[in-house]
Symmetry: C2
Subunit: 215 residues, 2 copies
DNA sequence: GTTTGAATTAAACGTTTGTTTAATTTTGCA
DNA sequence: TGCAAAATTAAACAAACGTTTAATTCAAAC
């Protein structure tokens, strides 16, 4: 199913980069063709249309990411705390290593109302929540986590923080006029801070007995 | 400076709604004109161009939001914990009450590389951080907050969480086929959960003594 | 070497876009 | 009422867009 020729992959990679940096709508097929050094007609020839190219991009990265998430889901971990740490690592590493796709997806997600892309994104959001839920429940079962944790809240914090921090880094890097190398180093540095503090924050929150239980 | 006629405000409000829901690029001037029941030429006549209309929208909402943030900055609060609670309230309420603009801004922010919009967004991000920083430092001064708090991290968590939760709510609401009223009630419910748990989480994190100080 | 189908190309197509024009209507003021 | 400026309109404009066409090149099989 997902077997693309080298030329198709070249087009997809080039398109992903341009879509992420300039936006889907502001990237013309001619832009992609020029950057990938292929003829304009090749996109329609291989993918059918610009929309289908976007769909192909989503499918490709979704199968990779959701597969990874599902594998984690069936891992055996020794403690609930390790589970939480592991999940934070997986989310951060995935969002960081697939920054371009993640940027494109988040952007498109905010204006999509239905169709195959909507279904894919909804499916991924559900899987994200399942993963967080599993870790939380295992900690609750053995009594080390508080009982009134809200998973919808937690997964929003997790994903939202990473994306927001990466966006902030891009802005700071541009403001400080960092070059590509410096910017990536800056991102990496802040991602590691995020990782460390997010783990601390989640642990503190999950083990903290709720002081306003009756609210 | 910011004095617009009723017709100009009508165009701006209509444009904001369409930009937020369909995206800036996918909304044509004809779409706006039709929805606002004005002639297509009126947009260029009043604002100069579509880009300038977007700039006007940004200016309008930015002056409001940044003014509000700066006012908070000089408020007197009794305790550091109250300061944190207050800031969380302000961010949540602002992001929630200006959902449409916030959605538009976040979306455009991810593909803007320079220009007046870039400067405005950067300015707002800086102000956000200043606000968080002030609350954290006041708690550190009197010794109730830990010393190694990272403000860049905290502000990312705060803004990122709210936006991500609202985006998740939109998806859930569409999946559950809620109508407009039900969707807003669903959002409101989850925002209140977010508010409560975010305050707990921040407090737990800020007062939690760091167990890996030497890391 | 010929044939067959895929790959590649330059050119053209029709549509939509943001914007402008030029004419007309409305408004506010003397 | 008369007049000048502002507001509003329908029509037209050029440019950019995604896509298609029709011709040509390429590669592999026989």
């Amino acid at each position: 199913m997902n077997e693309y020729s080298e030329k198709q992959l070249l087009i997809m990679d080039t398109a992903l980069k341009l879509f992420a940096e300039k936006g889907y709508d502001k990237t013309s097929i001619r832009d992609i063709a020029f950057a990938a050094d292929v003829n304009v007609a090749m996109v329609s020839y291989y993918f059918g249309s610009k929309d289908k190219l976007l769909e192909a991009l989503f499918s490709k990265h979704f199968t990779f990411i959701t597969n990874m998430l599902e594998n984690i889901l069936y891992e055996k971990e020794s403690s609930a705390f390790e589970k939480v740490d592991r999940i934070i690592d997986v989310f951060i590493d995935t969002l960081y290593s697939r920054q371009l796709f993640n940027r494109l997806m988040t952007r498109e997600a905010s204006i999509i109302h239905d169709g195959p892309l909507f279904d894919m994104i909804l499916d991924m959001k559900t899987k994200n929540r399942k993963l967080v839920e599993r870790a939380v429940k295992s900690g609750q079962r053995i009594g080390v986590f508080r009982k009134d944790v809200n998973v919808f809240f937690l997964s929003s914090v997790l994903i939202g923080s990473v994306n927001q921090l990466l966006a902030n880094c891009r802005y700071e890097a541009k403001h400080a006029k960092l070059n590509d190398e410096e910017r990536e180093a800056f991102k990496k540095k802040n991602i590691e801070i995020l990782r460390k503090h997010l783990k601390q924050m989640f642990t503190a929150y999950l083990t903290h007995s709720n002081s306003t239980d009756n609210a």
